[in-house]
């Protein structure tokens, strides 16, 4: 396979790992030569998905979260997976401002942010089995590569 690269990351669902997860994904994507804004977009999306797994998937119990990243040409594919309690109504969960935990001051903007900052997002979930969030972003869209003229 040409122009592909993959990595996998498994870590405990502790909130202190949220920063670790997004920084690791950000470091992995640097090979695509992204802009600062593209890196921030991906970091925010990863942070949202991991936070969801910790708070909603595992409800603050400590289990494993798995992140798989793949680069194909200019596209970064990220999967964030937990084996937690799953989502009953995915459509509802993805509505902006909808949250099942208002007492924890969740804004209900998690999926809205993931949708806004990534090109594509898909959620696969089954109650009591777990949740998998698949996201895609093409790096360098609308940016033309250029080279200096040779002397």
């Amino acid at each position: 396979m040409k122009n592909t690269n993959e990595m996998e990351l498994v870590f405990d669902s502790r909130s202190c790992n949220e920063g670790f997860a997004r920084v690791t994904v950000a470091a992995f994507m640097t090979q695509l030569n992204p802009t600062l804004e593209e890196v921030s977009d991906v970091k925010t999306a990863v942070s949202e998905a991991v936070t969801n797994a910790i708070i909603h998937g595992y409800e603050n119990e400590v289990h494993k979260i798995r992140i798989t990243c793949a680069i194909e040409q200019k596209t970064l594919r990220i999967e964030v997976e937990d084996n937690g309690k799953g989502i009953e109504n995915i459509k509802r969960a993805m509505e902006p401002l909808f949250t099942t935990k208002p007492e924890l001051e969740r804004s209900g903007m998690g999926f809205a942010f993931m949708e806004a900052f990534m090109d594509k997002i898909e959620v696969v979930s089954e109650p009591d089995k777990g949740t998998k969030v698949l996201m895609e972003k093409t790096i360098g869209k609308g940016r033309e590569t250029w080279s200096t003229q040779s002397l």
Binding site: S15, E18, T44, E105, M109, F113
Partner: protein
């Protein structure tokens, strides 16, 4: 968490990264401060902050709920472009004003 209290106004100096992990601490401490010091207005200072996710929006919304009952207001200051983008996108700017810092002093 660094903060400053001037009369009935609480300024919260947000950390470099505002995610679910450190949102918890800010939430707990600021709740206490607001209650004990009869705080009416809250200023979120983003000077050091270059990362925020929806947990940060939750913190702002929560403080707004608290002080708006007393007729208080919530402000954001020293926001960089990225922070303004997130604040605007989330719609939280409907309840919070953003200070436009003048650079001409």
């Amino acid at each position: 968490m660094n903060y400053q209290i001037q009369e009935n106004c609480l300024t919260i100096y947000l950390p470099r990264e505002l995610d679910h992990h450190n949102a918890e601490e800010i939430r707990k401490l600021s709740d206490q401060l607001i209650e004990r010091n009869h705080i009416k207005h809250v200023i979120f200072d983003f000077k050091e902050t270059n990362f925020m996710d929806s947990s940060g929006i939750g913190v702002i919304m929560g403080r707004y709920k608290q002080v708006s009952l007393l007729g208080g207001e919530v402000w954001a200051s020293h926001t960089n472009e990225r922070m303004r983008k997130i604040l605007l996108m989330s719609g939280v700017t409907k309840i919070m004003q953003i200070y436009e810092e003048e650079k001409c002093v």
